[in-house]
């Protein structure tokens, strides 16, 4: 056996083992740490499958944001059970139904999927040739970017809408509370943040710019930037209160808004939404990518913060304590 195949085998065994261990773990904190490790190794799997675009996004999200999100969520949720409700004793049929459901349904679903995938694996491969044939009229030199922002731009537009909707849900459920201790920041941590934050911005810009020709683009860049924003929040930076109102909301919505406007304009111009005029395709894609990056970064960071900024701006509570005026 060649080493590459053994590598894949070991990687997949570890991934499946990790999934099993973290889902069966009695200790929730252990489960979260195992999930962070799972995300790390998943990025390796994407690399092995020849999907560097996905690996870039997974690295930014799996290594940075998901871990922070789950750790914060665990802290808020707690693992202590203070449930006021007692559970009614189950009847015999209820007791029986769970093992039957789990024991019969899951193996049969897996089997059907396996057969289906096995059948698919024998058919001819996908759209690589078609995409390469139309790449020079798409306005982008990289296949994945062309798919995201031209060939299947409709999907991406709706996906931006979903992100916005998710944030609206979060904001309607809760008010943002401070995530971290505001006092007692180690000077070494401040130093790390001062070093890393400019670098994060530079690398995010590089990833966005590179997306025109090579793996990279708005999603990866936005995810990286939002991890940077998270790091800034972690060391006590905060959005000034005067920007927490309309400006923040505009930033969150601009990605979807501009995309929607372009869809409307192209509908009027060419009769189909998001069918760009050929000579404008490159600039339109660039415009969408720029605003989308800003919006994705802000949306993901706001989703991790988990709540709307305080309505009454005079109360120095919640997301931005007025004391932290470093900026």
């Amino acid at each position: 056996m060649e080493p590459a195949l053994i590598f894949d085998l070991v990687l997949l065994l570890i991934l499946i083992g990790l999934a099993w261990l973290l889902l069966a773990s009695t200790d929730l904190f252990r489960a979260v740490v195992l999930f962070i490790a799972f995300g790390l190794l998943l990025a390796l799997a994407w690399v092995r499958l020849g999907a560097p675009d996905v690996a870039l996004a997974e690295a930014a999200i799996g290594a940075g944001i998901t871990g922070a999100l789950l750790l914060v969520g665990l802290g808020r949720l707690g693992s202590t059970e203070r449930c006021r409700f007692s559970r009614a004793p189950l009847t015999f049929l209820q007791r029986l139904s769970a093992p039957v459901l789990v024991g019969v349904m899951i193996p049969s679903i897996s089997l059907i999927l396996l057969l289906e995938v096995h059948q698919l694996a024998g058919t001819t491969p996908g759209r690589q040739g078609l995409i390469n044939a139309f790449l020079d009229v798409s306005g982008s030199g990289h296949g994945v970017t062309a798919v995201l922002l031209n060939f299947r731009a409709w999907d991406t537009l709706l996906e931006k809408g979903v992100l916005l909707l998710a944030l609206i849900t979060i904001w309607s459920l809760d008010q943002a509370r401070p995530l971290f201790h505001q006092e007692d920041i180690s000077p070494q941590l401040m130093g790390l943040a001062r070093l890393l934050l400019p670098l994060v911005i530079v690398v995010a810009g590089f990833v966005l710019w590179q997306g025109d020709q090579a793996p990279g683009g708005a999603f990866q860049s936005g995810a990286l930037l939002s991890a940077g924003i998270l790091l800034a929040i972690l060391v006590g930076y905060s959005l000034p209160q005067r920007w927490q109102g309309l400006s923040l909301r505009l930033l969150l919505a601009i990605g979807f808004g501009v995309f929607l406007l372009i869809a409307a304009a192209t509908l009027l111009y060419s009769g189909y939404p998001l069918q760009y005029p050929e000579h404008l395709a490159g600039s339109l894609i660039l415009l969408i990518e720029l605003v989308a990056t800003a919006s994705i970064a802000a949306l993901l960071a706001a989703a991790v913060v988990g709540g709307h900024p305080p309505d009454d701006l005079s109360t120095p509570a919640a997301k931005a304590p007025s004391t932290s005026g470093r900026r």
Binding site: L49, A57, R76, L77, F85, L114, A121, E159, G306
Partner: protein, 105 residues
């Protein structure tokens, strides 16, 4: 046994593990983790199917869709956590199942 079927098969196993845990685990955070694992399994099948062409490079279409999928699943996780915190705040529970008769309490 080639790389593609190896990864696709593992993706299905991950999906099943996640589905299993989603059904039988009580704690909401475990359910959220389970749904994430399910998603990862689906992404893996998708990317593996895209990689079965010429060696080394995955098809751009599944890559693009998984890319959006990863970002959406992160947002879904954030929404789910906020919901779980809300449930915890209102009921004191970290689980979903509350039987009708016993909830009078």
């Amino acid at each position: 046994m080639n790389t593609v079927s190896l990864y696709a098969g593992s993706g299905i196993i991950l999906f099943s593990l996640g589905l299993h845990a989603l059904l039988i685990r009580r704690h909401l955070l475990r359910k959220i983790l389970a749904a994430n694992i399910m998603g990862s399994g689906v992404f893996m099948v998708f990317i593996a199917m895209g990689a079965r062409g010429e060696s080394g490079v995955a098809d751009p279409v599944p890559q693009a869709m998984v890319l959006t999928g990863i970002v959406v699943s992160l947002c879904f996780t954030a929404v789910a956590i906020v919901l779980a915190v809300r449930i915890n705040k209102l009921t004191g529970c970290t689980t979903l199942a509350v039987d009708e008769e016993s909830s009078i309490d």
